[in-house]
Amino acid sequence: MKNCLIVDDSRVIRKVSRHLLEGMGFAVTEAADGKDALAQCTAQMPDVILLDWNMPVMSGMEFLGHLREQEGGDKPRVVFCTTENDIEHIRAAIDAGADEYVMKPFDRETLHVKLQLVGMV
């Protein structure tokens, strides 16, 4: 079973994403900001991370930068999942090392295809 870490400050988004991901067979853990997510990754690196952009304490972009510098931090597939829906943000995310990008709102089909494309389903 693959592990997915959901990093989002919205409890609702975490709940909906968890429901979708568990339905796809993932074991799911959650973090409400980048700092908490980084601590969880240090303890155990997930297979895939669903990452919000704007969060308190540490943003998604800051988290991604730190993650990729960590030992083993190149392994998790990172899928941004954000309301930042313009081309500049998308290009910045890819340049920073994101593997895929989901624009909110999204549905099961969208998430499933993105996870397929990064080899997680």
């Binding site: 998308i90 895929e100 624009m103 969208t110 295809v113």
Partner: protein, 292 residues
């Protein structure tokens, strides 16, 4: 809605309207979504219940409303590269086979039946554009049809919400083939160029552009009853090149419906004209006359 009898009558009127306009069957399994499908139209036409809306259909001004009701009842669910495995077979086996068959003519004609808001023909156009080096001097024609005026209007505009644009597409493909304009995603003119969109009923004579080398008719036949499906198969058979192929959706099959198509060996979901024993044996004309 009112009593059970009123509800049945309302559904009967709607079912009749949908069948007349599109040939589709408003089966009991589709009835649960009628209220959701018509909710926007209820607001726009100042009706508070579906019974009231149906009553307006009989007024002297009911005709344009009938078209809109039929359109709203259609299921336009679609997304890019829907059923990825099918597109993998298309990209790796079916298209190379067709391209090899058409090396002399250097022309490919494709018909997408029930193209909805354009995601399927655009997926196909993407596959072909990504093989541009191989198809440099080829003439590619994709005729994309749907019975819904509303869906064809959206497809022609080629502008999608972020939700629509990302459904089925990886981000690399999305930023390669779409341009973000004021928060919406506009498809590249290069992808739209080979596509000709047309409002068309699959029960009627095929659109201009036949004989087609490939016909995609996916998730369309499931909305028809058996005699109507046979009629659609007949129209497709009449439109297909002798060595062309038909691609159906998952769970759709000509088996038990018509003898005019046979499975293509090693290509799941693809069918050719004829029977497995006699691939070329088939009449060229439609078996059943098109409905008016």
């Amino acid at each position: 809605m009112g009593s059970a009898t009123e509800r049945d009558m309302t559904h009967e009127v709607l079912a009749q309207l949908l069948a007349e306009r599109t040939g589709q069957d408003l089966s009991p399994s589709r009835r649960w979504r009628v209220e959701t499908a018509l909710s926007a139209l209820l607001r726009e036409s100042d009706a508070t219940t579906i019974d009231e809306l149906v009553a307006k259909l009989t007024s002297p001004f009911g005709c344009p409303l009938s078209s809109r009701v039929a359109d709203a009842l259609l299921n336009n669910e679609t997304y890019f590269f829907r059923d990825q495995q099918v597109f993998d077979v298309l990209a790796k086996s079916a298209l190379p086979k067709l391209i090899a068959q058409r090396q002399d003519k250097r022309r490919l004609s494709i018909w997408c039946v029930g193209c909805s808001t354009g995601q399927e023909p655009l997926s196909l156009s993407m596959l072909l554009a990504e093989r541009a080096a191989m198809l440099d001097d080829w003439q590619i024609n994709i005729v994309a049809t749907d019975v819904s005026h509303r869906a064809i209007d959206v497809a022609r505009r080629g502008v999608y919400t972020p939700f629509e644009a990302q459904r089925g597409l990886g981000i690399e493909r999305m930023i390669r083939w779409f341009e973000e304009v004021d928060g919406r995603w506009k498809v590249s003119p290069r992808l739209l160029k080979p596509i000709r969109y047309q409002q068309h009923n699959a029960l009627h004579a095929p659109p201009m552009g036949s004989p087609f080398d490939l016909v995609l008719c996916r998730n369309v036949l499931l909305y028809f009853d058996k005699p109507t499906r046979q009629q659609v198969f007949s129209q497709i058979a009449a439109s297909l090149a002798d060595d062309g192929m038909l691609l159906l959706g998952a769970g759709e099959t000509p088996v038990g419906q018509t003898a005019r198509f046979a499975p293509v060996k090693d290509l799941t979901g693809f069918y050719c004209l004829g029977t497995p024993d006699m691939p070329e044996a088939r009449p060229r004309t439609a078996e059943v006359p098109a409905r008016g």
